[in-house]
């Protein structure tokens, strides 16, 4: 049994001018100790998916339907109190903006210690001692001094380290990282990714990493889920996806990525782009969600929404025209 099974997840938001179907019918699973990446443009529903798993979507205006089974329990049926016992303890989360994700009026130590006091019943002295250890673990120098400092006294990279320390303090089984490196300098990005990979092994957590950056995906993920307009359009192991993308959207994403050295090798250097815009999620879309931007789209695509099919072993895509290989049943 997988650690996390998301089944038919729908997260919708009520707005004044319609219902925003931010995530619509998403299915995926994450195995224990596995790293899965969810990729897509901004607005494709990847962050909403992450927030839905932890039930951090405000209801109303939002509503979550479907099933999110974690360790066999459907999180959507839990009470608020039971859900709180899971957040930060069994499932924890790292956010995109380290600059604003830490509370400016509480010390770093208090913020790390809070999780420990909440979930492990530590006293504030024990929690502070453990906070120092955590800071040491995430590679912050002079942890004894830093633990008493406020977030504004730390750099962006250090703050993201503190966020990781908070997230890992209770040894969670699942860590959800929502664009953990996007706001950071390139050199710091690499450090943070390395740190996450190292700590994953130490703690033994599974990771769901959410990103728009295919470079990050290639570096850390084992399996990739590509999302578009609130749905999964393709899923495969990372090498398969990069080598042999089946869905025109994934092909477009890879085509829009600059390749190192491509200008030296004399290859066509012009980056491809995906024409058009993501369709409004407030209208129900007939047919394939990508049809409006897809250069291969036919009338068939515009009328019948393609189901997710296994096009090759362990390689799922939702496209009528994607090449199918014989799948060993």
């Amino acid at each position: 049994m997988a650690l996390l099974e998301v089944e038919n997840l729908q997260t919708h938001f009520r707005a004044a001018d319609g219902i925003n179907r931010a995530v619509d019918g998403l299915n995926f699973h994450v195995n224990a100790r596995e790293t899965v990446a969810i990729v897509g443009e901004s607005g494709c529903g990847k962050s909403v998916t992450a927030m839905s798993i932890l039930r951090l979507i405000p209801e109303p205006p939002g509503k979550i339907a479907g099933a999110i089974r974690f360790d066999g329990r459907d999180l959507l049926t839990l009470s608020d109190r039971e859900m709180r016992a899971i957040r930060g303890n069994e499932i924890s989360m790292i956010f995109q903006e380290p600059m604003t994700s830490l509370n400016p009026v509480l010390t770093v130590g208090k913020q790390i210690g809070e999780t420990l006091r909440l979930h492990q019943g530590m006293s504030s002295n024990q929690a502070e001692a453990r906070a120092v250890e955590m800071l040491k673990l995430v590679g912050i120098p002079e942890p004894e001094r830093r633990v008493r400092e406020y977030p504004h006294q730390l750099s962006g990279g250090m703050r993201q380290r503190v966020m990781i320390a908070i997230a890992l303090a209770c040894n969670p089984k699942l860590l959800i990282a929502d664009e953990p490196t996007t706001a950071l300098d390139v050199t710091i990005q690499a450090q943070i990714l390395d740190l996450m990979r190292d700590l994953k092994n130490t703690v033994g957590a599974a990771i769901v990493i959410i990103t728009h950056d295919l470079g990050v995906v290639a570096e850390v993920a084992e399996r990739v889920i590509v999302m578009y307009a609130g749905r999964k359009v393709e899923e495969a192991a990372v090498e398969k996806l990069f080598r042999n993308p089946r869905h025109p959207y994934t092909q477009g994403l890879l085509g829009s990525m600059p390749k190192l050295g491509s200008s030296l090798s004399g290859e066509e250097t012009r980056l491809q782009e995906i024409p058009g815009l993501v369709p409004s999620l407030k209208r129900k879309i007939d047919g394939c969600v990508f049809a409006s931007r897809c250069s291969y789209a036919t009338d068939l695509c515009r009328t019948i929404s393609p189901a997710l099919e296994e096009k090759a072993e362990g390689h799922i895509a939702a496209c009528h025209y994607a090449i199918k290989e014989a799948v060993a049943a």
Binding site: F95, N103, I166
Partner: protein, 313 residues
Amino acid sequence: MFAYVIRRILATIPVMAIVALFVFSLLYIAPGDPAAVIAGDQATPDDVERIRASLGLDRPYLVRFGAWVFDIIRGDLGVSIFTNLPVSLMIKQRIEPTLSLMLVTLILAISIAVPMGVVAAWKVGTWIDRAVMGFAVLGFSVPVFVVGYLLAYVFALQLDWLPVQGYTSISQGFGPWIENLILPAIALGSVYIALIARITRATMLEVLQQDYIRTARAKGAGQRSILFLHALKNAAVPIVTVIGIGIALLIGGAVVTESVFAIPGLGRLTVDAILRRDYPVIQGVILLFSFVYVLVNLGIDLLYTLFDPRIRY
């Protein structure tokens, strides 16, 4: 830090000087002969001359102002035209009821309004939020004395739970003292509660949108901890600022509330002084209230560091 405190204190001096200059100059700004206006319609020319002399209006403006400021610094606020008592003495006799009323109102208002605003922000869009906001608009719209009469009519005259009017000094015991202050404090506090509840709600709404609140939720923090530990501390600076600015409403409202509930405080002194056109008393009270207001807000400025470690002096 210390240098900052000194600088801030020194910065209030020009403000106070302008207040003093303005309060003093009112007599000269007002159209017509102030002595005649103060003396009233039935006054004889002798009365007018007597008042002119006692206000020093027969002396040059700057000379008079200099002497007046010098007197104030020594604590001499002049002499009442009507009672011939020193204004400072009259203020001293009347200060306890007003101070009591304001203190009780302040405590009552903050302890009601802040939780009200927090809950409204938490339950934004629900009937609880609408009720709080409705109450706030109502608080801004019903004059203090109307609230006072309404409360007195229902809780004192009809239900007979509390005294209709009057004041008992705290030296007579806490029970009778507070009994007489509950209705006036609620009446006086109505606008103030509305103001604080509104700013608390607005600030909390903004704070609750912040990323660090999402972090706190993701950690598994409970609702109470999120509202009162994570959010309220971040919202404290604007709320405390408005509490300070709102003291002006309390001061203005006290003048009226004391009339409604027959509390012998500075407010009543002001109203009586106005009806008798006892200008030195009016000047003295306004000056006192304004200085208190400036000092309270100075104190609040200096307290900001307690709430927000990012503010450094």
